[in-house]
């Protein structure tokens, strides 16, 4: 049986891949926003950045990191910059 720690670690990796879903793919905005919510819950995404992802939720072609930089959202955690 998988331990809780392993399970969380696997989920973390899965959500990280989903957060990095390629911009432009149909449905990718929602996938990224859902992943951002996961990382917000774990303290890896700021409120401001979560809101950027929410705004991009239905805009599959909009890159949330571009938008954040354009709008001067300061707090972009390492997790996102690694993508």
């Amino acid at each position: 049986m998988m331990s809780v720690k392993t399970s969380i670690s696997l989920e973390f990796k899965k959500q990280k891949i989903l957060l990095a879903s390629k911009v432009g793919i149909p449905g990718s905005g929602a996938i990224r926003y859902a992943a951002a919510m996961y990382f917000y819950n774990h303290g890896n995404v700021s409120l401001e950045m979560l809101e950027i992802y929410r705004r991009c939720c239905k805009l599959d072609k909009e890159d949330p990191i571009d938008l954040a930089q354009f709008e001067g959202v300061e707090i972009i955690p390492n997790l996102i910059l690694e993508l």
Binding site: Q15, G27, A30, I31, A34, M37, R54
Partner: protein, 401 residues
């Protein structure tokens, strides 16, 4: 031989009441309000498990103001939720069918739900107090899978579990191995300008087959048998006649129809139908299974909904037979739709005294008896005032539905 219900019970009793429901009951908005409760409190077929094969796949099912999502969660289990966000009640998924790859996201404000229904988070979470993921989880809908078909029930009601309800057909249905079937051409829905009961009245008897369905008559004709509704279910079957078939589709269907290995020889040349009160039918042929159902939109408009499934390993011959069966069935549906219009319009005429049913239409009577047992106001022959129907029904001893 596969056992179903006692065949001796199929004959109607002597001197049975051959009348139908009163005409007013087909044109009453007040009655429809009470009928809608019957739909919500009885099992409804939402889809087949093969409609949601992979993680995140969903199928929606709307019924009389209620809406459900059938979803395959991360552990590949089937889940059924109300398609209602816990925030402001918006639909969570707006398409009939699709895949939520990561989570369910409300299109209104952006609340996010995990595939197991728990709340992942509210949009702009700093504007709320801490929200418990279980307390604010999606509301579940009662569901049950029977031979691959996913049944849902929006409210508790008088029916037992689906397994118990359909227990008399379990052995037969299992022999078709329909739980392993896969979709053919998706869901078919159509609006019909009639009261929902007019659709059911036509479907509940085979007396009209010889007159109205030349294709079906050519296929199974006088070998067609109806069983009456009993404890919420009925069964009909049509064994193919020995003739080669005069119609092109029937002739070739009889030629190419080929059973799956799992199916007993006795069922190899038969179409079987299970009626499930109040509005659903599961049909099985040697090549396919399908379901169809009707829901009221208003007292004079209904939605007909259907989907067909096939064996995943069908060969070329079975594929041809399935195509031919669908041609026969498609013609039958068009013919039945006209009959429902004629039947429904008769109910608005002051000059029509109501049904006078044949022994071959006993299924219509027994179906109506099921309705009468739930809403005794159906026994009132003259149209009551609309605003008095609910009270009148209560005074006649309405059961809990």
């Amino acid at each position: 031989m596969i056992m179903t219900k006692d065949a001796n019970k199929n004959s109607p009793p002597k001197n049975w009441d051959r009348s139908g429901l009163p005409g007013w009951s087909y044109h009453s908005p007040a009655l429809l309000e009470m009928e809608i409760e019957i739909f919500k409190t009885h099992w409804q077929i939402a889809c087949h498990i093969s409609d949601v094969p992979n993680v995140g796949d969903f199928k929606t099912f709307d019924l009389c103001g209620e809406r459900a999502i059938i979803l395959r969660d991360s552990s590949l289990e089937i889940k059924a939720f109300h398609n209602i966000c816990r925030h402001r009640g918006s639909r969570l998924v707006t398409k009939d069918q699709g895949t939520c790859k990561n989570a369910l996201i409300c299109p209104f404000h952006g609340w996010v739900y995990n595939l197991d229904g728990t709340l992942r988070g509210a949009a702009k979470p700093d504007t709320f107090p801490a929200l418990d993921k279980d307390e604010f989880a999606l509301r579940t809908v009662e569901y049950e899978v029977w031979n691959g078909f996913v049944f849902v029930r929006f409210k508790q009601g008088p029916q037992p579990s689906v397994k118990e309800l359909l227990s008399c057909y379990e052995e037969e249905a299992t022999s078709y191995n329909i739980s392993n079937q896969v979709p053919t051409d998706g869901f078919w829905t159509e609006m019909s300008p009639v009261n929902w009961k007019s659709i059911r009245d036509v479907d509940n008897e085979g007396y009209h087959v010889a007159m109205a369905h030349p294709g079906l008559q050519d296929l199974y004709g006088s070998n067609y048998r109806d069983e009456p509704y009993e404890n919420g279910v009925s069964r009909s079957e049509g064994q193919f006649t020995k003739s080669k078939g005069r119609h092109w589709a029937v002739r070739n269907y009889k030629k190419f129809s080929k059973k799956q290995k799992s199916l007993p020889e006795s069922m190899a040349k038969t179409w079987v139908y299970y009626g499930i009160f109040p509005n659903s039918v599961i049909a099985m042929t040697p090549e396919t299974s399908l379901f169809y159902q009707e829901f009221p939109v208003s007292f004079d408009e209904s939605i007909i909904r259907s989907a067909t499934y096939r064996y995943p390993n069908e060969d070329r011959q079975q594929k041809v037979a399935r195509y031919l069966a669908s041609r026969i069935d498609r013609e039958t549906v068009v013919e039945d739709q006209q009959l429902t219009i004629w039947s429904n319009e008769s109910m608005a005429s002051d000059s029509f005294d109501g049904f006078y049913l044949s022994d071959a239409e006993y299924g219509v009577r027994t179906y109506h008896d099921h309705l009468r047992s739930l809403l005794p106001v159906y026994n009132v022959k003259e149209a009551p005032k609309e605003n008095e129907i609910k009270h009148l029904n209560a005074s006649l001893g309405m059961k809990n539905i």
